[in-house]
């Protein structure tokens, strides 16, 4: 975690996506106009959130297998940062949606799925707050994390595809592929990777600070 190379990579990718996100060429689309560039910022928020949630899940599973508190710290910090990205993604989505779909909060299943997801992970932290004993807290929150994740996933991926949805790629709209040409993808994929790396960097800092606190308390 102390290595720097991936942090510099993340920083470079982020700067790249910001600069070329505005200077690069985009397809001209009705309704979307220039806001199509939001794709470089709004969507990576979701990908980062997912990546961080999966990391949190992995460490929860590891904790249940080995019982090391270290793993529980990893799991909880990844979850915390994923909530932040989720909130950011939600607000950027609201902003984008208001100017394209005409409503700050439309009744879209993907939106509802994310709102529920935020509730679930907030409940995770409330659960953690109600324990004093370290081991108990770690074990029970790990169980909840795994259970909640597995219930949450079908929500976010499957349900929107089954029902009507405003989002592209779900419920009758053609997938985003048709709107994003090659030039956009060249900026989009690096942006996603960059944000995931930055999110991981932030989480790693939080983890390291927590670990230092742990050692001080011993």
């Amino acid at each position: 975690m102390k290595k720097y190379w991936w942090k510099f990579l993340g920083a470079a990718l982020l700067l790249f996506s910001v600069i070329f996100g505005f200077l690069g060429e985009t397809p001209r689309r009705e309704i979307l106009n220039e806001t199509i560039r939001m794709v470089y910022f709004h969507v990576p928020m979701w990908f980062s959130m997912m990546a961080l949630m999966v990391s949190s899940l992995v460490y929860s599973i590891r904790y249940l297998q080995k019982g090391k508190i270290r793993d529980d710290i990893y799991a909880s910090q990844f979850a915390a940062v994923s909530i932040v990205f989720g909130i950011l993604g939600f607000f950027t989505g609201m902003l984008w949606g208001n100017y394209t779909w005409g409503d700050w909060l439309p009744k879209d299943p993907k939106l509802i799925a994310v709102e529920v997801g935020m509730l679930i992970y907030s409940a995770y932290f409330i659960l953690r707050g109600s324990f004093d004993d370290e081991q108990r807290r770690a074990r029970l929150s790990a169980i909840y994390n795994i259970f909640a994740f597995a219930s949450f996933m079908p929500l976010v991926w499957i349900l929107p595809r089954l029902t009507d949805s405003l989002h592209p790629g779900n419920g009758g709209n053609p997938a985003f592929g048709s709107d994003m040409d090659v030039k956009m993808r060249m900026i989009f994929y690096p942006a996603v990777l960059g944000w995931i790396l930055i999110g991981t960097w932030i989480a790693s800092l939080r983890i390291r600070i927590k670990l230092i606190n742990e050692t001080i308390n011993e």
């Binding site: 529920v116 659960l127 109600s130 081991q135 074990r139 169980i143 909840y144 259970f147 597995a150």
Partner: protein, 220 residues
């Protein structure tokens, strides 16, 4: 399998003798229904089918959350160790899930009957509505049993249970309301097929998860 059956049977016999949980739950359901009856009958026939349906499922949801909390509360820790030595944790969770399922099924059918009687009948297709009740009871009981197990280890178990379970149950409830709305409108079976399969899928996933995760819960 035998262990599961005997565990379920033990819970049923306990319930019939003490009637602890059942009485509380029935009373809760009846009082809430009566409250709705009084409030909504101020204007006659004022309940449109959407409100009727949603209200029913909300009442069911809260009854379910309450009843699930009870299933772990009445176990004292001494007995816990005894059970652990006799039957594996997998059997225990399956038995609890099935017991809760039966309890919820009973409650939902009772509630449904009362609802029809007090608040008018908006249902066209009973078959699908009953399927929704059965699948719903199964889904509620499977998620709630594991979550109740988690919550029972905390100090404020009923509060924590509510906080934990509501977000997770939201998608299930959403599907159930849609399905039962279809039943009320009398849509053909094919229209609801997707929903039924999805709900059933969710139920299975949750049951499998509970089965896998319970052993870890049991150790503490």
């Amino acid at each position: 399998m035998k262990e599961i059956k005997s565990l379920i049977w033990k819970d049923i016999k306990l319930e019939l003798r003490q009637q602890n949980t059942i009485n509380t739950m029935v009373l809760f359901m009846v009082s809430t229904l009566f409250l709705c009856y009084i409030s909504f009958m101020l204007r006659t026939n004022s309940l449109d089918s959407l409100t009727w349906n949603t209200l029913f499922w909300i009442i069911l949801l809260f009854s379910a959350v309450n009843s699930a909390g009870n299933s772990f509360r009445k176990e004292t820790s001494g007995r816990h160790l005894y059970y652990y030595q006799l039957a594996g944790p997998g059997a225990i969770i399956m038995a609890k899930i099935i017991f809760n399922f039966l309890l919820l099924l009973f409650l939902s059918l009772l509630g449904f009957g009362l609802y029809l009687a007090l608040l008018g009948n908006h249902v066209s297709d009973y078959r699908i509505y009953l399927i929704a009740l059965v699948l719903g009871s199964l889904g509620f009981s499977s998620s709630l049993t594991l979550l109740a197990g988690i919550a029972s280890k905390t100090d404020n178990s009923s509060g924590v249970l509510a906080v934990l379970s509501l977000p997770i149950l939201l998608p299930l409830i959403n599907m159930l309301i849609k399905l039962s709305k279809n039943a009320m409108d009398g849509l053909a079976f094919s229209a609801s097929y997707d929903e039924i399969m999805t709900i059933f899928g969710i139920d299975l996933i949750v049951i499998a998860l509970s089965y896998l995760l319970f052993p870890y819960l049991w150790k503490s």
